[in-house]
Each structure stands twice: as C-alpha cells, then as structure tokens.
C-alpha cells in the first residue's frame, strides 16, 4: 500500500513531537499530531509535544486502572507530562534523557539499567527499550488520529542528533523498527531538519537570502543537549546547493543546566538569609526557575524579580518563602555562564581525569556553550577557524531573546574585520516544533523534488588493526587504524577498501575496535594510521562477526578485505569480503560490552 502522508518524528531528549503533511498536496502544509498523555492519575490531556520521560508505577498503582490508555499501547508505564512532573520527586521510578544514554558507549545499551542507580524494586529498561516505548506512544497517538492510515504504511523520517555516531544511529533504528516504524524509514540529522523547516518557510526565496560561499551555522540548544552543524552554500551548474560540511560532538549541556544553575544560586540566597530549603522545596525552586528563566532576561521587565517557593501541604501562603533576583544577577548566571564572550581560539575546560570516574551520563564539565562552539569552528581546519555568515537558532532555550543576541554577538566578533555582520535566519515562533516540521517537509520533498542538503557522513571511520610483530607480554600490540569510510561518503554509495589482507579466524567471534573522527577529512579509504592524537579518533562500539566453520575452507582463517556501504536510507554496513571467492560477511556493532573497561 502506498503512503498517504509524509511524517516527521522528532524523538527529543526532553520533548518529542510528530508533524505530518499530505503527500498528495502540491504545496506542503505541515501540521502537528495531538498527543494524548496523562497529566495526573486518570487525567488525560492532549498536547502537541510529549515530554520524553517514562514513569514506572508500582504494580498496585498500575492494577488500579488509572493509567490505562485506550488501546493499551504498552503495560506498566506512564509516558509524558505526568512522568516529567514526578521525575524530580521520584528519580528512582522515572527515566529521563533515554536518548543521551543511547549514545553513551561506556554502557551496555541493550541491558536494562534505567532508571540509573534506582533503589526501587522496578523492572528496569534498556536505553533501546525506553526509546522504543516513547516511539510506541507517538505511534499510538498518530494511529488514534489517523485510524485509516496506520503509521507503519506512511513515509516516515525520524530525526537523530547530528552528533550521533553510527552505533547510536543503528540502535535508534533498532528501537524504531521494534516499535513498529516502517522498515524503510529515513534517519535525518536534527539541525538539518531545522534548516529544512527554514527552507520550507522561505519557499524559492531562500536562494535570495544566501549566496555562494556563505556558511550557515545551525545551533540547536535543547533541554539537555547541544548539537552543532555547519552547512555551506555552493554553486553547481549555476544552481545554489547546500552541503553539510561539519557536525559537532555530542554535548551534554542545555536548558536544564541553566535552570539548575539558577536554582543553585537562589538556594544559596535563601541559605544566606537563614532559610534552608528541604528537598521538596528545592525541586519546587527548580520548577520556578524554569518558568522564570525567560521573563528574568526580558528587557524592560521587572527588576528585581521575586522568586517564590510555595509552601508544601495545604498551608500555601504561610509556607511560602521568597527571595529576589536582579536582572544583572540573572544575566551573570545565564548569559555569562552559558554564552560567555570568548575568542575563537578558546577551548572548553576538559573533565579532570581521575582513576575512579563514576559511570553516568558524561555531562560537560564546561557549560560555556560559546567555548564549545569556538572549539568546534576552530577544529574544522588546521589553519583558520570557519567563520559562519548566517545563524539558524533551534531549541527552546532561544526563546529568550538575550541568548540569541549574545550568541549573535559572539559569533560576529569572530568574523574577520570588515566582513558583513552575521545574519540570523528564521523566525522564533517555532523553536519547539521546527525539527519535526522540517522532517515532515523533507519526507514530503523527497517525492516532490525539493532541495536536498548534501553532505554524506559527518565523520570518517576506522577499524583498529593490531600490527603484526613480536608479542611483548603485558603490552598490547601497537594498534593501527584503517580508514574504511572517508569523511562525506554519500548515501547510496559503496567502497572497496584498498588495503592489506586481514585474516578472519573461523569459528570464534572476531571483534574489531571501531573509531570515528569528526575532523580528519583528508583520509582516503585504505589509508592506514599508525599514530594519532587521542582527541582526533574517538572510539565507538566495536564491530564483530562470527564466521561459521562450514562456510569456509579448513586453514582456520580467511583472508579478507573490507567493503563499506551506506544505503539510501543512511544505514551503514561494513562487510568482510573474501579475497579468494565471492563470499562476504557483514560486521555488526557490538554495543553489549564496553570497549574500554
């Protein structure tokens, strides 16, 4: 059955959104899918976004029936607004930021370990399963408002952070297929989706807004993560084309950090006046800060503003405590703390390495987002930093005008003297929904001949090969890295990697360490690295396969070369091709064990 709708799904770290448009329409008009969700026991309300939180009720709570969603898309789970509301009070029973765990290579992402460090007797979920259930909720919402056009038959685009490596993308795909997305859905990078949203809003006019040689910097600061992408405007046969030239690393810093920083500052103010906040009040203060963040930075707003923490229990007025925060203080914490003025060669502070590092989400040590941006722009070339000419904001944080102004100011300060000011693209009305809408538009445009952002892989990829030589006890053999995917390898292409033969041992698991590099753009497939900076090559999940004995002759090993392929849908495949005959075997990511520990 052919698809009737183009559907874009933004499976966000803190909020998820689904948008769609009719494939039959000549001009895409994108709409949002209403998502019913619990706001309290037995109270269902419908919003255009789903907080990406999962609450695990006790068996008694579940049995009471107050969490029953029509059609029972899943059991023993409450997803959405209520789960977010209780996440701070009941961290042992809620799963937040499942997506960030999905790209955390130091844990087994298929084993049930969320909620992290929970002391409650809950049935834990793996990051993959948590993502699957979020998608199940979204699919259920779609099917409820389109009972005659099930999502499994539509043209679906699911977005992932640009910073997701191959393994994290593969796991996202696994969760999506398990949830019931159509086999042929497309993965699209979130900043690109935001740019597609801008392209749609402009129509053909976008060609007047930018010119050849311009560089668009998409800065996406969400609740928990920051995602950076550079898109260059090029000209081919007289036509402007867009090419994604770089993406940043996965940065775990975002709006939630800002709320916490504000709450921390205010709790110290309370303490200085002798009011010690209990845990419940601290949570309440955090919520107040989330609500106040925007108005605190509004020019011409009240100054100073009062932040109140309402009393617990029914003694609301009597229990209320309050303090004041001036605009200067708020600016100091939020703007200078998260978007500090800095030169383009600034470097974010690295996490101090200690022997005992707690395994958890690797939150950024340095919350100066502008410093991360500076380091991203500088790392693109060894000589000069990339100077963006245009800025596209995305993510709820940028609803506050002060953040937009500061970031524009900082990026402009990096431009060469005499060059025109950095221009801001796009409107502000849609910071929360742009990714889903852009994804739906992209799904629609693939069958209506719209502009396509090109770029291929955002990283080059390497397999680790131990060099031959005398083994020294206690010292691992020196490792070399063989480039199997060059930077910018396009979808729908395949490469025979020209290299020495590698012997695959028969009958036991063969595992290759696997590396990615965001900035080694010159390496060709087959290039062997003997030496590299630790910063340059980042190890991801290893790839492995088991060669069955009956499949091969009896020497005990098979000489192979690598063959890499990226499908039209953006799925990465790495094959071992026998040099003797036509047999070949596919390598799979092993995300079960930690490569480093």
């Amino acid at each position: 059955m052919s698809a009737r709708f183009a559907v874009g799904i933004d499976l966000g770290t803190t909020n998820s959104v689904v948008a769609y448009c009719d494939l039959a329409e000549e001009k895409a008009s994108v709409q949002l899918v209403p998502i019913p969700q619990f706001v309290a026991p037995g109270q269902i309300e419908t919003f255009y976004s789903l907080p990406s939180f999962l609450y695990l009720p006790t068996p008694e709570q579940w049995a009471s029936g107050v969490w029953k969603l029509e059609g029972d898309p899943y059991q023993n789970l409450v997803i959405g607004a209520y789960a977010r509301q209780v996440s701070a009070e009941q961290p042992d029973r809620t799963i937040a930021a499942a997506k960030s765990w999905l790209c955390h290579s130091r844990i087994d992402r298929r084993s049930p370990l969320l909620p992290w460090n929970s002391n409650e007797p809950v049935e834990k979920l793996s990051p993959v399963d948590a993502s699957k259930y979020l998608l199940l909720h979204l699919i259920d919402a779609w099917n409820k408002c389109h009972p005659d056009a099930p999502l499994s038959e539509q043209k679906v685009v699911l977005t992932v952070p640009a910073s997701f490596d191959m393994a994290a993308r593969e796991l996202t795909r696994e969760a999506a297929i398990a949830a019931g997305l159509p086999e042929h859905f497309i993965l699209l990078e979130e900043p690109q989706a935001a740019l597609y949203h801008w392209l749609q809003s402009k129509g053909d006019q976008w060609r007047r807004a930018v010119k050849k040689g311009d560089v668009i910097f998409v800065c996406d600061v969400g609740g928990g993560t920051t995602d950076l992408t550079l898109v260059q405007v090029e000209e081919e046969q007289g036509e402007l084309v867009l090419k994604r030239i770089a993406v940043g690393n996965h940065l775990l810093v975002g709006g939630d950090n800002m709320d916490l920083a504000l709450a921390h500052f205010l709790s110290q103010k309370f303490a200085a006046r002798g009011t010690k906040l209990n845990p419940w009040q601290s949570v309440s203060l955090w919520h107040s800060c989330r609500k106040a963040k925007e108005s605190l930075l509004t020019v011409g707003g009240q100054d100073p503003q009062t932040i109140a923490v309402l009393g617990r229990g029914s003694r609301l007025i009597g229990g209320t405590v309050q303090t004041e925060i001036s605009r200067a203080e708020a600016e100091n914490i939020l703007i200078d703390g998260f978007f500090p003025l800095c030169p383009v060669d600034a470097l974010p502070q690295r996490q101090p390495q200690s022997g005992f590092q707690e395994i958890g989400l690797p939150y950024e040590h340095d919350t100066g987002i502008t410093k991360h941006i500076a380091s991203f722009l500088s790392s693109q070339s060894s000589s000069v930093a990339v100077r963006p000419t245009h800025l596209l904001f995305n993510g709820g944080v940028f609803k506050a005008g002060a953040f937009r102004e500061r970031l524009t100011q900082v990026v402009s300060s990096w431009s060469e003297a005499g060059s025109p000011a950095v221009k801001v693209l796009g409107d502000l009305d849609d910071l929360d929904h742009a990714v889903a809408c852009g994804a739906a538009y992209y799904a629609w445009s693939t069958s209506h001949g719209g502009i396509r952002i090109r770029g291929g892989t955002a990283r080059s990829y390497y397999v680790g090969i131990e060099s031959a030589g005398l083994a020294v006890p206690g010292i691992p053999r020196p490792l070399q890295a063989l480039c199997v995917v060059p930077f910018g390898m396009e979808e729908g292409t395949a490469i025979d990697v020209q290299s020495r033969e590698v012997g695959l041992i028969v009958g036991q698991p063969v595992s290759f360490r696997f590396f990615a590099s965001p900035n080694r753009k010159e390496d060709k497939p087959g290039h062997m690295l003997k030496w590299w900076d630790e910063e340059e090559l980042i190890e991801t999940a290893p790839m492995e396969l088991v060669l069955q004995a009956e499949a091969v002759p009896d020497e005990g090993f098979v000489p192979v070369k690598f063959h890499s392929k990226i499908t039209e849908l953006g799925v990465f495949e790495l094959w071992c091709q026998s040099v003797r005959d036509n047999q070949r075997w596919k390598l799979e990511f092993n995300v079960r064990e930690d490569a480093e520990v």
Binding site: A40, P41, G42, S288, G318, T320
Partner: protein, 187 residues
Amino acid sequence: MRIGLAFQLFFKALAGGKTADDLQAVLQGKVSDSKTAAASLPAPEPKVVTESKPVPKPVTPIQSEAITLLATLQREARLIDLVQEPLEQYPDAQVGAAARDVLRDTRKVLERVCGIKPLLPETEGNKVDLPTDASPMRWKITGSASGNKRGVVVHPGWQATHCQLPQWNGNAADALVIAPAEVDLNA
C-alpha cells in the same frame, strides 16, 4: 408551537430519509457548525428523544467537568490551596508573594483549557454600536435605552474560545476528588 414542531420531527424521524439522518447527526453532535445547526434545527423536546431513540447509558463513570477543572487548577496552580487558606493571619505582602505565582499559573491553565479572551474587540472607554437584536447574555446595558444605540464600553466582557478539559478515566468512587492526599514514606 414547539410541541407541534416536536411531533413533526418525531414523524419525520420515524419515516427515515434525509431529515431523519440530519436529526441523527444533530443528536450525536456531528454537525460541525453548531451555530447554523442551532438556527435551522432547534433541539427537539427531550421526551421525543427518548421515544425515538433511547440514549445508551455511559459505560465509564464520568467526572463532572467542574471537578476536572478544579483538579487541573489545583494541580498546576494550587488555586484551591490558596482560596482555602484563612487570610486573617497573614500580612498583605505574604499573601501577595504566594498569590502572584498562583495567579500566573491559573491564567496559564485557563488560557489553555478555555482560551479566554474579551468578548468585544473595543477596549474600555471606546464607543460601540449595539446590534438591533442585542442578546442580554452578550450585552448588559445601563442608562436610558430610548432609541440610543451607541454607548461607551465599561467592560468588554469575557468569552471562552474553546473548552478542552482533560479526559477523566478514574473510578466512580474517586469522581469527586480534587487533589490526592500526599504521603511521604521516608519522612
């Protein structure tokens, strides 16, 4: 006259055909434009409804929408806590500190659930013309009414632009609960 109409409708409904289908649609609330429906097809007397087609009893217990609204206002804005608290013991500043947040959040809830906006586009102090068939529900008129159809807006009125309350699917025994009792097992 109504009784006559009701009987007419009754027999039309029995006879079937387009009028019957239309009636069915009206009874089930399927007519999208409620204004035109109300104008062209006045709702029949309840008696006729039961005779022509018995309405099945709802299977799930339904919470009064008033309770659902109160529960929402308490949950998101703590409005019930505020109005239930005796005010005599507190100075105005203390009341104000708590009320500011509660009022802000109450407004947010009402905005979402009802989409409250002024009934008149004209602001207070501006002149406005009265329509000839001014409904007393929409227009509260003071002063001499003799022939004068133009006056000054003293209050622009309020209206809800929609009504979207949370859906309630609890048990009948809990239908009157506005807010649950909170118990901390670790305290």
